[in-house]
Structures are given as structure tokens and as C-alpha cells.
Symmetry: C2
Subunit: 497 residues, 2 copies
């Protein structure tokens, strides 16, 4: 038995085990607790006048609140109790009629309830065909109507007006300079690097920051879809010789197509030697650090200058909850901080506190993403979140094993983490049709991508509720829909001259 076969056998056994997920073990008890939380929040809003608008946070409360990353799950009632004692009484106070600071809305009960529904649906409004997108379009219709804009006008929810203003400058810049600005940027000779497999948002970041996508050197990958370090070194040397200024290298922990992890330790060493900023795009993969089993494969991430990742993927926090971590906090603050009279800091009162989040990014209006993350981490604890991440990987290995034993299926890349790319042995058209059939059947919803020029069925296992039976159902349906599609094709009369 080869190592691969042995790993698959282990994964199959692990994946077949009874699998608790992150849903409540006792739904009835959780329901009671949930209703109590809702009542507390309604009480807060209904009786807001009885509270002070704001009150200073006692240093004891701040101190008591701190705790190391919890390993074990904590009871939801206990976490909520902490919220009621330490967080709710020390909010900014903008729900209160006496709040007149800055320009803050007061919120409504309907808005609060809708936010709960949105989080329950866990909708990601990035794209795809689902009704939440239609809700955004409905609001766009209303906004067009309000401002007398034509039906061809576009619109977009963003965090706040700071972001909307930034986007408008980008649109105006593009409208004036034409499409070339996205490639060429607005000047300067900086140069960054990432693998050809890096997510498109890296290139877009170069575009939006004015550097242009041409300033991002895309480096070939090795047979395992990892950045080719020797090729990267050659590219840097070539660019320096050409008078350019290399400044940044981006490693990926979990590529979007295959889940490959670049050799982060080698990148860290190279970046240090070359004096480059070392950034890790760990969108979903970085949280594998929670698992002692998988963390060693991310070796080198601890030497990054910055790491980007999402709590709303493997962390299972409702959308959206991205995170940026920067080693040098001063460099981070220097990039964004900007004094303004109406953002004066005071030694005391509500305008106290030295480091405000708005000093570290473009947003002045920012939702409370931290709370859902805090609740999720405490309710499940590091160990259980790690277990879920490991199970995703075990399931992926098991799925790979199934695919390898099924002659009608072809594996398109080695499964590194939780993403399995394969295809039914037929044309791209048939594979695209199979995925359409699958989605419309309601049995399973994989997506597609292109691997080695071939259309791949791509199963990304992220959901903590996914079990082996879901993968089996998906594979059975792929084989069935594939066969039907092939039969249909054979039954069609020959076309052509």
C-alpha cells in the first residue's frame, strides 16, 4: 500500500466516524437561551432612556474581560452573561436619545431583527444567483428613484461613505485614464510578486492602490501548484537589473483553485534577504493554524509582515468578517491615520482612547464584526474549531479516494487541504452541464474552475455540517447526470456538413 493509499484509508475511516458539527447539541435549550437574548436586547432598546448615554469603562472591567484564546467551549449563557455585564453597559450610547456626538444613527428594532435573519441565512452578497442579490437590487432601484438616476445606474452597498468615496475616486480615475490605468497604474517603479495561482484580488489591490497590475510579477508554480522559489529569485534579480524596485512578495496559504500552500518559510527567508514586505494571503487557509495537525504545513507564516484572512470561511462566523494582521503596528497606523478636527481625541470621556480602528484602515463607519467572532470562538473553543477544520481535510481526502477508484471520474489536482478538483471523463460542456444539473437538483452545490485547461468540478469543503453522506450523494449524482448527458448527446442526430 502506498503512502497516498494509506492516508486515504485513514481519512476514510476518520470521515466515516459519527461527526458532531457546530450546531447546538441541545436545540431546545439553545432556543430558550436565544429567546432570552432577544428579550434582553428588546429591553435595552425599549428602556434606553433609563440608562446613562455613556459611562466610562472601569479599568477592572477592561482587565476582567481579557482572556487567552479559549481552548474549550464555553456555555452560550455564560458568554451572554459576560456580554450583559461587560459590553452592553459600556457601549458608545448612540441608541440613546441623548447621544449627539459625531454623526451616528440610532438604529431600529426592525434593523436589528433583519440583521439576525441575514446572519442566519449567512448570505454572501459577492455574487451568484440567489434572492439576497435581488434584495440589494431592489434597494438600488429605490436609490435610483430617490436621486432621479437612470435605470442604467449601478450601485453597491459598502461599509460606509469613506469606502464609497474611495470607490468613486477609482471610478473617476478609470473614466479619465481608461482601462490602461488598471494595468499600468499611475506611475512609479515598485514591483511585487505572487504565484500565478494567487487570488485575483492581489492583482486588484495593485490596481486600486495606483501601482497597476503590471507591477505585480506573476511567478510560475511547481507541480504541486506552489510558487517556484528559484523562478521568483530570478524575477527579482531581473527586475532589479532593469531598474525596478521590488518591495513585496505575497505567499498564499490555501490557493483558491486547489488549496495549495506556498513554501512560506522559504518566502520568509527570501523576503528578509531581499528586504521585501512579506504578506500572506490566508483567506481560508490561515485559520488552519488552529489545528496542531495542519499548522506545521503553514510554517513560516509567523514570520510574515502581514496576514489577511477571513473568519467567515473556516471560522464559520456569519458574513462578513475579514481580518488584517500587521506585525509593525506603527507602519500600519502611519499608512492610514489622519488627524481631523471632528475626530479629536481627548484624555477622557467618550473621545478617549489613543488607537482608534479608523487609524488603521479606510473605514470610519464599521459594524461590530468583532462580536460575532468573539461569540463563535468562545462558544466552540479552539479545539472544536480545529476539529472541524481537520474534518474538512479528512473529508476531502476521502472524496479524493472515492474519485480515484471510480473509472468515470478523473482527479485534476492532488488534494492539499479541503478543495477537491475533479471531472467526469467527458467534454467541458458536459461537466458544466453536470454542475448545473447538480445545483438545480438541490442535491449538492459544487462550483467550477479551470485546472490545466480543463473545466473542473470543484468541491470546497468548508461547511461544518458536511458529512461523508453528502459527498457520496454528490458523487452519485455526478455519475448519474454525466451518464444521462452522454446518452442525450449520443441520441442527438449528427450535426454539420
Amino acid at each position: 500500500m502506498s503512502t497516498a493509499q494509506r492516508l486515504h484509508a485513514i481519512a476514510l475511516t476518520a470521515a466515516a466516524e459519527p461527526s458532531p458539527n457546530l450546531d447546538p447539541v441541545n436545540w431546545a435549550a439553545t432556543r430558550v437561551q436565544a429567546h432570552a437574548m432577544l428579550d434582553d436586547m428588546l429591553d435595552y432598546i425599549q428602556h434606553i432612556r433609563a440608562r446613562p448615554v455613556w459611562q466610562p469603562i472601569p479599568s477592572s472591567a477592561r482587565a476582567q474581560f481579557r482572556e487567552p484564546l479559549p481552548d474549550a467551549p464555553q456555555d452560550l449563557a455564560d458568554i451572554h452573561d459576560e456580554f450583559m455585564r461587560f459590553i452592553l453597559p459600556y457601549a458608545a450610547g448612540n441608541v440613546h436619545p441623548g447621544f449627539m456626538g459625531w454623526v451616528h444613527g440610532g438604529g431600529t428594532v426592525e434593523g436589528m431583527l433583519a440583521e439576525m435573519l441575514a446572519a442566519g441565512l449567512n448570505a454572501n452578497l459577492g455574487g451568484r444567483d440567489h434572492m439576497p442579490i435581488e434584495v440589494e437590487r431592489q434597494v438600488l432601484h429605490w436609490v435610483r428613484e430617490l436621486f432621479g438616476f437612470p435605470g442604467s445606474a449601478s450601485g453597491l452597498f459598502v461599509t460606509g461613505t469613506s469606502m464609497a468615496n474611495l470607490l468613486s475616486v477609482l471610478v473617476a480615475r478609470h473614466a479619465r485614464l481608461g482601462h490602461a490605468v488598471r494595468r499600468k497604474g499611475v506611475g512609479v517603479g515598485l514591483r511585487g510578486y505572487a504565484a500565478v495561482t494567487a487570488h485575483r484580488c492581489i492583482g486588484q489591490a495593485f490596481d486600486l492602490s495606483g501601482l497597476g497590475t503590471n507591477a505585480l510579477g506573476l511567478v510560475p508554480v511547481d507541480g504541486n501548484f506552489r510558487i517556484d522559489i528559484a523562478a521568483l529569485e530570478r524575477a527579482i534579480r531581473r527586475d532589479r537589473d532593469a531598474g525596478m524596485t521590488p518591495f513585496m512578495v505575497v505567499g498564499t496559504a490555501g490557493t483558491v483553485d486547489t488549496g495549495a500552500i506556498d513554501d512560506l518559510a522559504a518566502l520568509a527567508t527570501l523576503a528578509k534577504r531581499e528586504g521585501l514586505w512579506f504578506h500572506v494571503d490566508g483567506a481560508f487557509g490561515a485559520l488552519a493554524m488552529l489545528s496542531d495537525r495542519i499548522a506545521p504545513r503553514l510554517k513560516g507564516i509567523e514570520d510574515a509582515d502581514s496576514i489577511a484572512f477571513d473568519f467567515h470561511k473556516w471560522g464559520q462566523v456569519p458574513y462578513d468578517a475579514g481580518f488584517l494582521l500587521v506585525r509593525d503596528g506603527n507602519a500600519h497606523k502611519d499608512t492610514f491615520a489622519n488627524p481631523a478636527a471632528y475626530l479629536r481625541r481627548e484624555a477622557r470621556g467618550l473621545a478617549g482612547g489613543e488607537h482608534w480602528p479608523c487609524d488603521f484602515g479606510p473605514d470610519l463607519s464599521r459594524g461590530f464584526r468583532a462580536l460575532k467572532t468573539w461569540f463563535t470562538i468562545k462558544a466552540h473553543g479552539r479545539a472544536r474549531l480545529a476539529q472541524m477544520i481537520e474534518r474538512s481535510c479528512d473529508l476531502a481526502q476521502a472524496l479524493e479516494a472515492r474519485i480515484l477508484t471510480e473509472p468515470k471520474l478523473e482527479l485534476l489536482s492532488r488534494t492539499e487541504l479541503n478543495i477537491v478538483c475533479f471531472r467526469y471523463r467527458a467534454t467541458d460542456e458536459i461537466n458544466a452541464a453536470i454542475v448545473g444539473d447538480l445545483q438545480e437538483s438541490g442535491i449538492a452545490a459544487p462550483s467550477t474552475t479551470i485546472i490545466g485547461g480543463k473545466l473542473a468540478i470543484r468541491a470546497a469543503l468548508v461547511n461544518h455540517r458536511t458529512e461523508m453522506r453528502d459527498l457520496d450523494a454528490m458523487l452519485r449524482a455526478v455519475l448519474e447526470f454525466g451518464q444521462k448527458r452522454e446518452q442525450k448527446l449520443r441520441a442527438m442526430p449528427c450535426q454539420g456538413p
Copy 2:
């Protein structure tokens, strides 16, 4: 009686009237409805396996869902019923164990409940001293611990990794090029314009987009804090003569310090003549378009090329819910759209639909901001939201009238909309102390800014719950704290040589 006096008298009368706000009229009934909504959502998650992963949206559902901007309030139960019939069954399906598309998290009950609490607190995590900021810091501590980063490392929640990657490129760019890059940008000769009173985020947008803050010409204002159109024309001429390329002018509908509204019609005419992109920063002010009484003062906004504004300010939607509207949808899409294999569009299935929101901005992961906005607009209707906005303005006029009759207080700018800037007739130090005292007393929480070189107490009336009695309480406290501070100062022995 002067016109100003007459207006004040009218405002005082209006402001003193019994004032319904956007809170439930019948709390008991709303509470019952809220609990039903919570139960429906818990049912959805608990029994998710019984549903199809995804299903196509019938075109009848799409059509039935559309409606013009509702004028009258709709019943919360009816809106929720629409949600249950049209939205929930046609979600993307990533809560379901059979969802394996792209890389989507599954969400948890705890995360959903926490999002409800966050929306109830309506916390804005941009800054200020409140416990929600400590929650974000707690998560930062955990993240540092997870990745082995030092205590000096900074971190920030963002929408998703696309945004985090963009910010990291900006930090790396700044780390390499130094502080000058924020002023000088990375090249090119584009030139934009805004009033000196424009929000700092306009300059930051020029910085982050690579143009540099120097590329933003700051134009003087007239006596009413509105952009000086003649001065703007001179600046454009001067810049063209110097070989620069004017490309954009930003008008403000409601400046942050005083609520001034630039002459948007004049700006629209000028922008058209000069071939400039005309953007309106209407962070809070743009939604005054909901009011037939105030809308005429925003004349010209309908001719803007783009408008940025927030639903979470005067729209009372929980944080965050910003919005960008662009007249030319193609120009908008051309700025951001970027094909990638893993974002393939298909003619059918879950990957259907031509225009995905990710084609119009930097985010691929985007929360469902539209739902809380949709609920808020439907539950209250345009007329009632307009009434709340008008009342904010009436209250501001009434507050101004009170200030003008009180000899110890000085009005620092004419009240245009909902922002009143004044001071206690004493030093800046005493005024800062008064605001600190006020906030710590829990009576009221205004903020501060600088008007004409003087520290101003700034009352921004945005909250739909604020009434005349809240303003009276605030003024009484200002006078009382001011007197105490002065007495304390007089009681102190003389310092000096």
C-alpha cells in the same frame, strides 16, 4: 420679527410637539413578532437538511418581489412573510451541508445571535472609547497569539480578505516609499477638487488610489461654509495652465462640521462644462432627499456622476450600511470587474446572473447589508423617515434659538441642517472639560470640533429618539458644568512667576 426669528419660532413649535419616533408603538406585539422571527430562523438552521441546497428563483418570484419606494409603513409581520416566501427559500444555500461551491462558511447559531446583539447595540467600531472596541482588541490578542505575532502588531476587521489584501499592499507601499507617498501619490498629473470643509476621507481616497492628497485641490468656502465656485473656477484654470489634468470635483451635501450644503447645481454645471466627474459626498445629508421640504436644497444632486451616502446615519439602519450610486453603470463595472476561472458565470444554476456585486467593488465577501436596509425602509416608509429627518432639523433650529437667547452661550455657525456648533463663553480648555463632564455624567454626549479656530461643542442630531427635553437637559448641564469649571478656576491660587 426677522426671518430667522420667525423660522426659530416655527421650529420651536414643531420641535415641542408630541414626537413619535421609529420605535415600536406596540412593544408587546413587536416582541411577539420578533420571537416568531427568531424561531423561524432557528427552524431554518435546525432543519436545513430537509431543504434543497439551492433552487432556481422562479421569474414570478423575482417579479413579485419588485416594488417602488414605499411611502407608507408596512407591517413587520407582512415584511417578514415576504422574507419567508421570497428570500429565504432562494438563498445561496451555504448553510446547507451539501454546499461545496466556492469557499463559503456555514455559519452558526451563536454567530447569528451575536449579530443580533451587535445590531441592537448598533455599535460603530470606527473609534471612541467604548467596550465594543475592547472586544475587537480581544480578538486581535487571540489572532496575535494564533500566528505568533508580537504585542506591537496591529489588526483590523474588514469586510473580507480582498479588502485585507488591498490594505496590506497599501501598508507595504507606504513602508517602502515613506510618508511622502500619501501626499505625492505614485505619479501622474490628475487633479481633483473639494472644499476645505470636505471630509478627510476624500483626501484619503486620493491617497489610497495612488493619486496622493496633493492631487486634491482644496478650495476656500464662502461665509456659509459652502465651496466658493469662483475660486474653484480659478483653481481649475490655474491647474490647466500648469499642465495638470483636472478630472473630478467633489461636492458635499452636509459637511461634517456644520452641515453645510455646497451649491450642487452650480457644481453640476461647472463639472459638465469642464468635463469633470461630479461626485457628491452625501454621507448623512443625501438621504434628506426623502423629505420634500429639504430635497430642494440638494438641487443638482440628480446631475451627479456618483453619490456616496450612509443608510446607517439618518436612515437609522444598524451599522454598517454605506452605499455608492454611479450614473454610468458601465464605467463603474469597468473599474472593478476582473474575470477569474473560479468566478465563472454560467447560463444557469447557482453561478447564473450576469452582474455580480463583486464586479462593482473590491469585495468578494459581502454581508447582507441590503436586508436590514430593506426591512427599515419598508417598516417605516419614506414618509415617516422623511418626518424623522425633518424633525432632526427642527430640533436643531430650536436648539439654535435657545443658544441665541442664552448670554453665556455663543453660536459658532448658522445651523443648516441638523448640526449645531456652539460654545460656553470661556476658554477652549473649559469647553473641552464641559464636554468631558457631560459625557461622563451620562446626561448627553455631544462631540467637539474646531470652528474658526475655536473649540466648538458640536451637537449632531441624528437619532430618531432625540426630543426637545434631551436638548434642554444638555443645555442645562452645559451651563451648570461651565459655571462650576469657572468657579473652580477662580478658586485656584494664581500661578506664575
